[in-house]
Symmetry: C2
Subunit: 154 residues, 2 copies
């Protein structure tokens, strides 16, 4: 089984409620739903994608709330920013060490298992975050020849 397809336990809203509480956050319905979407769907959505998805079931939701909530989650360090495309913030609630690969044809962002990473020359530095971002084509799009490599640079 490919790691991308690996099943992870699905979080219930109650799980999310507890997790937010543990991090000192009150669990409003928007916070619950936004975090639940991130942790269960794992599609690394943009703020806009989260907004479009959640307003279907909660029409009163405002884009500002999505942005505010994501910023709050980042500050509390319960989600991470995925910076694999310029001017396109994506968000990931899985904090374990892994990389990201964006398919330049379909736009999807895949999780990536990192076997080993060895750096040198970092004596005296302190590291808070490590991000490994790849860009290329997923097998589907590669087969469908959906992309012209000589096209625009992201």
């Amino acid at each position: 089984m490919d790691h991308q397809e690996k099943k992870q336990k699905r979080w219930s809203l109650e799980d999310v409620r507890q997790y937010l509480a543990e991090h000192g956050l009150r669990a409003s319905i928007y916070r619950l739903k936004i975090f639940e979407f991130l942790i269960n769907e794992r599609t690394h959505p943009t703020a806009e994608e989260i907004y479009n998805r959640l307003k279907k079931e909660m029409p009163a939701l405002s884009p500002a709330t999505v942005y505010n909530t994501l910023r709050l989650f980042l500050e509390k360090k319960i989600i991470q920013l995925v910076n694999v495309e310029k001017n396109e913030g994506r968000y990931d609630a899985t904090l374990s060490w892994h990389g990201h690969l964006k398919c330049l044809a379909c736009g999807r962002v895949f999780d990536l298992h990192i076997e080993t990473l060895k750096l040198s020359g970092l004596e005296g530095f302190e590291i808070f975050e490590k991000h490994l971002n790849l860009r290329g084509l997923c097998p589907e799009c590669l087969k469908a020849k959906k992309y012209d490599k000589e096209g625009k640079h992201g």
Copy 2:
């Protein structure tokens, strides 16, 4: 000697002119100077930093030219985008495989030597670009205690 201090050959303007020509680019003075700045100074500057630096010797330079030229260099794949901070494009004319570390106190971006990187689960994917971005503190700022770790998230 630390890798950050390693000396690289300095490019003359004539070197740059030839390099641009090899990549099908006419060598205007702005293109020469922008590329020369990137390749010789290796500070991974933003467009604004390039503009501020070069307008000192070339007062007619416009920000639009800097943006246009950087975009052109990216399209021709003679520079790479360094995406270590959201909403802050930085540029690097060194294309050999290396990582970047941004010091969150002084804002400088350091080059990083990568000994090994082993990934798995990429069967069927095609990879165009790999980016390794770290965030933390450089030795100088660490010693000077210039940063409050509980501060804002980038």
